[in-house]
Symmetry: C2
Subunit: 247 residues, 2 copies
């Protein structure tokens, strides 16, 4: 794992496009700083017009929106290496909020600097587009699996494993997933109770086990089938190097 924010930012961009020496030097010149945010603390709030692009260095976070009845819908998870606040490059306010699900280390990069770099370096501009398009592709997949809770949960587990694997946080079918069942439910539009039952079904089915913050894939073939998971949707945007890490 990269030790500095700049490393993490560079890694992320490099996974999306091929960076030239000039691109790398430009990134090297960015001002960045790192701060820690406690579990359940806001990172960005709906309506904010952020001055920084944020890069998650350690920990997990979630995008979410509140409904008028107070219930919460999580619309995406952020894992180490992910951005947030790209909205700011076009001076748009956040239309959703972001919260730390665990204690997080977050790097901040001044948005104007990123916008400038994007203008002068087409590859970097393209990387930002691709990051956005990946998010969109994931969002679209979340819409796709809304008929059957079993497949929905299984698909989320596949997505999280694949994304963790890309950034080196998974191996041998295992990775840490620090989500409560309520958070999973908020993400999938299910109740925590039902998530619990579905997780038990999956565990007893022998394909996958999510418990004690650990995701263990026991039968990848069966799981992929149950989830109707096809990792292709995560790949078109990634550079070759990143794809090869998927294994």
């Amino acid at each position: 794992m990269p030790k500095t924010c700049r490393d993490a930012f560079t890694n992320k961009l490099a996974s999306l496009v091929t960076l030239s020496e000039a691109d790398l030097r430009a990134i090297e010149g960015l001002k960045v700083d790192v701060r820690q945010i406690d579990r359940r603390r806001p990172i960005l709030t709906q309506g904010d017009l952020p001055d920084y692009i944020y890069v998650l260095l350690d920990g997990w976070a979630a995008r979410y929106e509140l409904r008028s009845d107070g219930s919460r819908r999580i619309t995406g998870f952020l894992i180490p290496g992910d951005f947030c606040g790209i909205h700011a490059v076009c001076h748009a306010a956040m239309d959703h909020s972001i919260i730390a699900l665990t204690k997080c280390d977050i790097g901040r990069i001044p948005v104007d600097a990123v916008a400038d770099i994007g203008r002068d370096h087409p590859a970097i501009n393209m990387a930002l587009w691709r990051a956005k398009l990946i998010e969109e592709a994931i969002l679209r997949k979340w819409l796709l699996f809304s008929t059957n809770a079993r497949a929905t949960v299984a698909h989320l587990l596949c997505e999280l494993y694949a994304r963790a694997a890309i950034v080196g946080l998974a191996e041998n079918g295992r990775c840490g997933v620090p989500l409560t069942q309520e958070e999973v439910g908020d993400a999938l539009g299910l109740t925590a109770v039902h998530v619990n039952r579905v997780l038990r079904q999956l565990r007893e089915g022998g394909s996958v086990d999510l418990s004690h913050q650990q995701l263990v894939i026991k039968d990848a073939q069966r799981l992929s089938h149950e989830a109707r998971f096809d990792r292709a949707y995560l790949e078109p945007w990634l550079s070759e190097n990143a794809v090869s890490l998927l294994g």
Copy 2:
């Protein structure tokens, strides 16, 4: 309604940002052509690497993806003035397909020309970003209203009305909505049968009537409440002129 593709493209960009004279001249210089596509014919297909940005001039279309069991999920509707194929500006293949829901007139603009213009004209680049962010905001809202079929359907009707109003296709609480109940169901993850029942409930409730391809809003207040609709999510991206059209 604009009579040429270039007009439509200009209108769309102008609704998203303030264009300078230079921006307008650049757009004026774009090569564009128009073609007609029959109902149920593909416009773009998953895997395509489009050479053009498409602008829908007349008719409705839908983004969709097929599940492994053959069922279809519609992930967005396109109405006149909307783009598709922006993926191409970063040389990414389509991760979903787009189909004409009615007979459509579609303008094509060479993607390389758009990319060049975006690089030289920051305002136009920003407009493209904003178009993408609106799509994303809509996608996020679709995730948000997935607990209750009544609210879900009502919310979609509100969205479609608001978007139609922005481009001058709605007035006095009426607009054309050329969707079958099956298409609505595919968009919301509901069966056509259930959509039918919900539409009847809404009709009998007196807030809104969708039938014979016509959407009639009878009680905007009640409908907004049933739908928990807050048009704010469509506004942050629009220029002032476009917002004032919302009435």
